[in-house]
Amino acid sequence: MNLLITDARPYGEDAVDLVVRDGVVTEIGSGLAAPEGADRLDAGGRVLLPGFVDLHTHLREPGGEESETIATGSAAAALGGFTAVFAMPNTDPVADTDVVVEHVHRRGAEVGLVDVHPVGAVTVGLEGRKLAELGTMAHSRAQVRMFSDDGRCVHDPLIMRRALEYASSLDVVIAQHAEDHRLTAGAQAHEGVVASRLGLAGWPAAAEETIVARDCALARDAGAASNGRLRAGASMLHVCHVSSARTIAVLRAAKAAGIRVTAEVTPHHLLLTDASLTSYDPVHKVNPPLRTAADTRAMREALTEGVIDAVATDHAPHAAQYKDTEWSAARPGMLGLQTALSVLVHTMVEPGLLDWHGVARVLSERPAEIGNLPDQGRPIAVGEPATFALVDPDEVWTVRGARLASRASNTPYEGMRLPATVVATVLRGRITARDGKVQQ
């Protein structure tokens, strides 16, 4: 794939032209000529970033095609500036065998808009009792690099210990949905003033904090037992969707102690709070729940500081019949792929908590490292893959769920005006999205 990109500002710095040959950047400079048969992308002085990597996406296929498919989810990803997504295994059937993960991987490649990396289940059927065949999935054609029972916590401490130990020989990471279900039985909302007034059973922050503390201790011991066999910088334990300020303190201490733990935060936990629950509209229902303004503040600080490594969307499409119900009957989750950048710019870039290098770090470089993707999250430099998101930081847009590419429309940002749009997405030299339309 040959491409000439003109007048682009890498990381918001001085404008340059980039020549791409066979998917790789071969020249960076000014007044560069297009190679033979090259596509052209006039960046118009907009910001060029490495393509975004989402560690946490629900593409719903197989089994949940009324809410999303690999095709519609890939389109949403490309339009959101993503060049790689990790697809969570809570499908039907569950992605707990090489057969299912290879199917998801192949469908992703056929659609071709974004690298789809299936996440394998840690336990058979996500049931928390028996380890799934991690090695078989890791060595399958899908090359699974992350395992998670997301949606459920690997609750049994012995199973979690074995998973971490076993994974240490496979160069893969265990991503934990940290929720002590004994503390969250029937939980519907963040345990606090709002939920109490609304009569919604509370999800206490301690249910997240305690599992993260336990798992950090298990990861410490599994890391020590691995006798230095681990890849430099590899994460053993990745904490999904951190939502509580309390958890940050645990992560900070664990990282300071040298434990190989990483963490992600979702865009919605950076921006939204439980104050939006008073309408009882389940579009705001998500697990872990929206918490308080003090929590969103702590998430933002931790992301600046690097205690939280990455932003991951937890993109969770749900067809209308699963959301247009009473609160307790609704499924948890919200769309995220096409709004992630805008929420990050709104919550982090505009207040000066992150610069464009910081955006590249949390949306691309760190997620690629955690997910062990060697050709994603790379620097914008000669010899590197031409995998980019071109961002217009000055454009303001109004979110409309019905206009998003996902099959479902459950966005909590409906009607909100947010900054920054993705003008184009480039995957190994090929334009996958441009001016709000996917390029098949």
Binding site: S196, L198, L200, G202, D324, S328, A329
Partner: protein, 314 residues
């Protein structure tokens, strides 16, 4: 007033207005041979109950009938709900049939709010502006219960403002407690919640009330005490060790009732667990207003239907 979903829909004037209307309706029916007012003739009122309830459903039904409305009762087990129809479709179907008012009880907190939002959004399609009345939603609210409690307190104590009301028991799971705390505060009463810490919601400190764990210390200064039903199953969630211990520490025994001032009133929203939160002799004593609550319930619900469907009187 378009819907009655929460007591926070009512300011002090609106709440007092409803209580005054209830009083007038009570007087209007007093001594009548035919207990029937023509006010809501031709209006259709549907009760839609997704939880078992005799008291509240019958009370609403009688209220509607005494106002000459056509009342229809839908129960979850005997309808298409059993076939898996969604709450929204059931509600819109009733709206399209011309229901002027749907009175709903549902195990999900916020169910009445959702129905009201759908009713408003789809009024153009269904052709009816249906009013929704919350007859109890999950552990959220039960506004007409709080109104009938306020009516009873007004009858017995002369006023609600300035009175000290104790609410005792399972506040955490109680929609009656939530509606009462906020309505009584709006009406100027001083509210004290008495319960073990396990049965109080997180964040209760932000509510317009005081919290106590010692019933005996509170009783001598109360003008009224409202005992909440405590389900014995709660001990399985480790909310308290045993029914016996609960009854000993928080039950309104004869000895405890004797600590109350002479004029103080005992309320219970029902159904009672006699011997658990309240001794039978206290429930049946002269200071018990439990049956007056039931009687007032009909008049308060008549007033609510009147204000919703015919507009508040001048």
């Amino acid at each position: 007033m378009r819907h009655l979903l929460s007591v926070t829909d009512l300011d002090a004037a609106a709440a007092t207005g409803l209580l005054d209307t209830a009083d007038r309706l009570k007087q209007a029916l007093l001594g009548r041979e035919v207990r029937k007012l023509p006010t809501l003739r031709g209006r259709t009122v549907i009760t839609m109950f997704y939880e078992n309830s005799t008291r509240t459903r019958v009370s609403f039904e009688i209220a509607g009938k005494w106002m000459s409305a056509d009342t229809v009762n839908v129960s979850a087990s005997g309808s298409s709900v059993a076939k898996g129809e969604s709450l929204r479709d059931t509600a819109l179907t009733l709206s399209a049939m011309g229901a002027d008012c749907v009175i709903v009880r549902h195990p999900a907190s916020g169910a009445a709010h959702r129905l009201a939002a759908w009713a408003d959004r789809d009024a153009g399609t269904t052709g009816t502006r249906t009013s929704i009345v919350n007859a109890g939603d999950g552990t959220h609210e039960h506004p007409t219960q709080a109104l009938l409690d306020a009516a009873t307190l007004r009858d017995r104590l002369g006023s609600v403002a300035g009175r000290r009301i104790g609410i005792v028991g399972d506040v955490l799971h109680s929609r009656v407690a939530r509606s009462n705390v906020f309505l009584l505060a709006t009406l100027g009463a001083e509210v004290v919640l008495v319960a073990p810490p396990t049965l109080l919601p997180v964040g209760v400190a932000e509510w317009p009330c005081r919290v106590s764990h010692e019933l005996d210390a509170e009783l001598p200064a109360l003008d009224a005490v409202m005992m909440l039903r405590v389900q014995a199953e709660r001990m399985h969630g480790a909310f308290f060790p045993s029914s016996r211990e609960y009854a000993v520490r928080f039950g309104l025994s004869d000895e405890r009732a004797a600590l109350l001032p002479e004029h103080a009133v005992v309320l219970h929203p029902g159904p009672m667990v006699r011997g658990m939160e309240i001794a039978p002799s206290v429930a049946d004593s002269a200071r018990s207003a439990i049956l007056a609550q039931v009687a007032n319930g009909v008049h308060v619900r008549m007033a609510v239907l009147y204000h919703l469907l015919a507009g508040a009187p001048e």
